[in-house]
Every structure is written in C-alpha cells, then in structure tokens.
C-alpha cells in the first residue's frame, strides 16, 4: 500500500503548505515544552535540569510505537539511512560543541527567534548559515576523507540485536520509560 497519500506526497504546492503547518505545530510544541529557552538547554547540558531529554524521549516513546503501527498497516514506508563512524560520530561531536556554545539547536534556534531571542537570530541563525557554507565548500574532500569511513555493519537496532522488530521496540520503550522514571525518582 503506501498509496493512501501518494497523491498528497506528489503535490508540490500542498507539500510547501504542509511544511509550513508542520513547522507551526512543531514550534508551538517546542515553546510549550520549554526547550526554546537557552537557560533550559544549557541546564540540560550541565545536567541540572532534564527537560530537553524528557521532551525528546517522550517524543521517541510515542513516535516509535506510532510509526511501527503505521508501517505495520502499510501506511508508511520509512527507510532509515546507513551511517558511518566518520560521519555520525565525528559530526555528532562537532555539533555537540556548537550546541553548548550556542545553547540552541537548528530547530530550537528558530523557535527561540519566535520568542524574541535576539542572540538566536543574529548569533545562531547567522552562525549556522556560515557553518553550512563552509561545509558545502569543503564537502567533496570531507566526504572522501571522513564521511565514507567506517560504515556501520547494520542500519537498525533490530538488525544489531538480531531480534524481531516488535521485540526490539518493546526493549527500547522499556529502556526509555525506565530512564524517565529513574529521573523522576531521583527528583529531576
């Protein structure tokens, strides 16, 4: 199947509108969750407040079940990408350094602009565009020397654990819910 919304997927003008609407809903939820605030994000990175992890993990807890059901009934066909050590680990660490210096990520920086954070606009947005411009110029060299190096042997958690998809979802859900319960128990 998957054909249910294929007409919608191919309607370019409708998709432009949907992108805007998804953005509005996402920005609304980010602000309501408190994670468009520099103070909240830095407190997470200093491990004194776990709001960011609570928002992210509850999104993954709900989304993982939801997407698995949509896939099971044939409504969606997600195709997670193959990763490499050279791309995901090095890139992730570079991103992390910037995450702490800026105090926002690409989604929350846009949200912070909407809440009136001037540092997010003239610092964050300008910096991100600058960093992308530098990357784009160096891309062929970075790709050949880093991005293709050390490919992960498998794509998904279930392939890694060599178990059934639903069982791996149950395990992941239990680990994430357990972590959130532990945070509450510890008083965070």
């Amino acid at each position: 199947m998957g054909a249910l919304f294929s007409g919608v997927h191919q309607d370019r003008r409708l998709q432009i509108l949907l992108g805007l609407l998804f953005g509005i809903a996402f920005g609304f939820l980010l602000q309501k969750g408190g994670v468009t605030s520099y103070n909240v994000i830095i407190a997470q990175l200093l491990l004194t407040n776990f709001t960011v992890m609570k928002v992210m993990l509850s999104a993954v807890i709900v989304g993982m079940i939801g997407l698995a059901l949509l896939k099971h009934f044939g409504y969606v066909q997600p195709h997670p990408a193959h990763g490499t050590l050279g791309s995901n680990v090095i890139g992730g660490l570079i991103f992390g350094l910037g995450f702490a210096l800026l105090g926002y990520c690409p989604g929350t920086v846009a949200g912070a602009v909407g809440t009136g954070a001037v540092d997010a606009l003239i610092g964050g947005v300008v910096g991100i565009l600058l960093g992308i411009a530098i990357f784009v110029e160096l891309y062929p060299k970075i790709r050949d020397r880093f991005l293709v190096k050390g490919p992960f042997p498998v794509v998904t958690v279930q392939e890694f654990l060599r178990i059934n998809t639903w069982l791996s979802i149950i395990i992941m859900e239990a680990v994430m819910i357990g972590f959130l319960l532990l945070l509450e128990y510890l008083g965070f």
Partner: protein, 178 residues
C-alpha cells in the same frame, strides 16, 4: 472551551505532553509528507538560495547543492513555520520577550552583547558544519531517526550530548568557574 483556552495559554506544558505531541507530529509527517521532521536541511536550502542570489554559477558548481537542491519546499518552509509557531505560543503563554543576553549566560559571563553574540556565531557555525557532517540534527537524528530505530541516528544523538555536555561543563565550570 474555557479548559482549552486555559491549556493553550499556560506558560509551559509538561515536557511529557509536549514531547508526546512531537512524537505524533513526526508520525503525521511520515504519513502526509513521506519524510522525517529535520530542521538542519531547511537551513541548507536557505543557505543555497542566499548563495544563488549572490552568485548562481558558483552554487551550481558545488557538488553538495547538486545532491540537495536549494529550493523553497517542505524542508525550507519548516523553519519559518517554527518561528511563527513559537511566536504564537510564547505570546499566548505571556512569555514573549526581546532578549539579547540570556540569564544563564549573563550570570557567568556578564551582560556584554558582543561577547554573547560572538560565541553564539561560533557555536552556530559548529552546529551548521557538524549537522551537515553528521547528516542531521537533534530533530532529524535525535527524534525522527530514533523513532525509526536507526542505529546511526541513536549513536549521533549520544554524540550530540557527549560533545554538548563536555563543552558546557568546560565553558561554565572551567572558563566561567575560574
């Protein structure tokens, strides 16, 4: 009706409620748009469009922009959408406020806008650079990728926080604490 009004004008929601909403939103994005919610690609498109307005021939020569075409599409529109959504929410919450130097920063590094903005530009540059190096950001890898049980995305998310925690501790307890 009054209850709904009360709910949407609350200063903040439980992070679990906001997070669950984001999880549902990612599922809807796969259903209606056949794609994950990821924010850094919108900035890639914006950067390419700005570049094209300055020098179209230069942008056309760049290999990266042949793989990710700079155009106004779903990914691009997500970004102004987020600005609008957060604006609406912060106004409804009574939280909208023009701020140049956030409180946590000024408590340690003072109120000078130039210092805060300079460090923010440096941090932003590392984020833009790193997100393209890793092929996604907190939303694309951390949330949407993890929802798909992507091993690479989960590893990337762990690295985001590993690098972030290390740098935040160095900044606030190392440099700031000295």
């Amino acid at each position: 009706m009054v209850l709904i009004l009360e709910f949407i004008t609350q200063a903040t929601w439980s992070p679990y409620v906001a997070g669950a909403g984001i999880g549902i939103l990612v599922c809807l994005a796969f259903l209606l748009s056949n794609r994950p919610i990821g924010c850094s690609s919108g900035f890639v498109k914006a950067g390419g469009l700005i570049g094209k307005s300055v020098s179209p021939s230069h942008v056309e020569r760049l290999e990266y922009y042949r793989e990710i075409v700079p155009e106004v599409d779903w990914a691009f529109m997500l970004i102004p959408g987020i600005v609008i959504g957060a604006f609406i929410s912060s106004v409804l919450s009574g939280q909208f406020q023009l701020i140049i130097v956030p409180a946590t920063w000024s408590a340690t590094f003072g109120n000078t806008p130039v210092l805060r903005i300079s460090v923010a530009i440096l941090g932003g540059a590392l984020i833009g650079f790193g997100s393209r190096w890793a092929g996604g950001c907190t939303s694309g890898h951390g949330i949407s990728g993890s929802i798909q049980l992507s091993l690479a995305s989960m590893i990337t998310a762990v690295c985001f926080f590993a690098g972030g925690i290390a740098m935040a501790m160095f900044l606030f307890y190392g440099i700031g604490g000295a």
